[in-house]
Amino acid sequence: MNELSRRKFLSRLTVALTAGISGIVGLPILGYLLAPLFSAPPDELVPVGAITDFPIGETKLVSVRDPSPLAWAGQTADTALWVRRREQSGPQMFQVFNVNCTHLGCPVNWQAGAKLFLCPCHGGVFYSDGTVAGGPPPRPLFEREWQVSGDRLLVRQQPLPTVKQG
């Protein structure tokens, strides 16, 4: 006899109903929670300042603002960048670095006297061109794409840089 007993049928029905309704509730919630994975990363160009703000040979801290932040983002809509002016003009004119140490993301600080970026967390050190001078960082400072438009310097927004994104 291959017949399904009434009791077995009812228990399977109960399990199937519960699983089905959990799925119907769970899928939207899961999609809602995982939404950050599906949103496009930022890549607008945002203004940093006038080119004349950056004397040749110097490295300056600038801040850029997320062009479309959440209304309650407050200060977190700002991001700091280190801008190094290398030449008068041309493709070697600027280097724009993320402030995040390539080790674990703490903000590096420029020491004008020593011409080094120093990280306060685990002691990472970088030269003025972003290459590693000492400590645990596995790679040079992350650089941002930049453009000169008229007399303005623009940089491209990007996600939090991680070692893998490179």
Binding site: G74, V99, P120, S128, T162
Partner: protein, 473 residues
Amino acid sequence: MRWLRAIGKIPGAIATWLGERFELEDSVMAVLRHPVPRELERPVGWWYVLGSATLGIFVMQVVTGVGLAMTYVPAPNSAYDSLQFISHNATLGGVVRGMHYFGAGAMVILVLAHMTQVYLFGAFKFPREANWLTGSLLLLATLAMAFTGQLLRWDQDAFWAIVVAAEQAARAPVIGNWLATLVVAGSNVGGATLTRFYATHVFLIPAAIFGLIGMHLYLVIKRGISEPPVPGLPVDPPTYRSRYEKMLARGIPFWPDAAWRDATVAAAAVAIVVVLAALFGAPQLGKPPDPTNVVADPRPDWYFLGYFAILALIPPATESIVIIGLPLFAFVFLFLVPLLWPDGERHWSRRPAAIAAVALPLIAYASLTVAGIASPWVPKLQGGTLPASVTQSLTAPEGRGADLFVSKACFACHAIEGAGGSRGPDLSHVASRLNRDQLTARIATGGGGMPAFAGSVTPSELDDLTAFLLTRH
């Protein structure tokens, strides 16, 4: 006087009525009076109180946490201000926040102490393996609460701690960048980040903790409290339960014969936290979470400083393995403990390897914590001056060199006569180790962890620096 005696009987009558109508005799009282081994009457019973003390602190964390949530605003543009309000303006706010803060430290300490006691007493062995497994998950949950709680402080340290957490998550194989995106809830720490950590800290993890505590306590009651271990009396799974049941037949009721010790220690633990909170208040917030202020010195709370130190001290090549592998190994090992050693000797005196398994990580983590507090690997950026004894009676070039030593940040990593950083070697007597050419070469080209300074000092500055260092015999 008869009416007074009659009134005096009312509370007892109410209690009896409630007990009967709510059937408390069969539920609550039966559980409270469950039999425990008679040995717990003796002083060894004091070892069995750590779980209850943890539970007591947990209840306090729930109560103070609900209180804080009544005022805390989990929005990035307001959280910092609302915490300042709680700490300085709200009535008793500083004390409540202080209790929650010191309570968090107490949770970490007590969970680990409870676990250590259970491990050394061999109480995780058959038939109580699942008690250990639920307990291990509770340890994980406690650490997750400690970490997410620090982030809700939403000061500069908290902001950078989230960045560091995301960067660590990104080191995971294959799914690293997805994890990092979920940690910050977007492409960067921003408007969406704090609310997620808040919901995780006040809903998700606590829900898991309530469920796990329920399972943990159910198992404690069902499997019974383990008897104090006796050397030479190993756990033999086929016969253990009948032996244990015989032992319980002449046992004592948990309530009140053993429970008074639990209540005493739990009350003392809570009292200590309240006194600390009343004396010291809430921990000071750091600077506001301004991503554009790069003058930061991010540090985790004290119980994570050892892990912070590991990240600075391990060789960079092994880093991704350590960041992902070490915690993974520690927790997998934790879960395997009762599965690998379910039987055999329970007493610590017969388990020397168990003593080592407790002592070595404890010593290692304590040393790392000390290293984390000192952080000798971080260059000293606060500036300062060389002692007068070093700079007096220098010639002009040597004096210029001494100035350069400070202005070119040599000072940040190298100490002379007690002043300066400790990242690199002490240079108080460097002239007795290196001659002029060696000094010049080392400054210009660096090496051994030191940057090359050829690009940042001129040849004449290099001469002055060398001249100064040659005075350091």
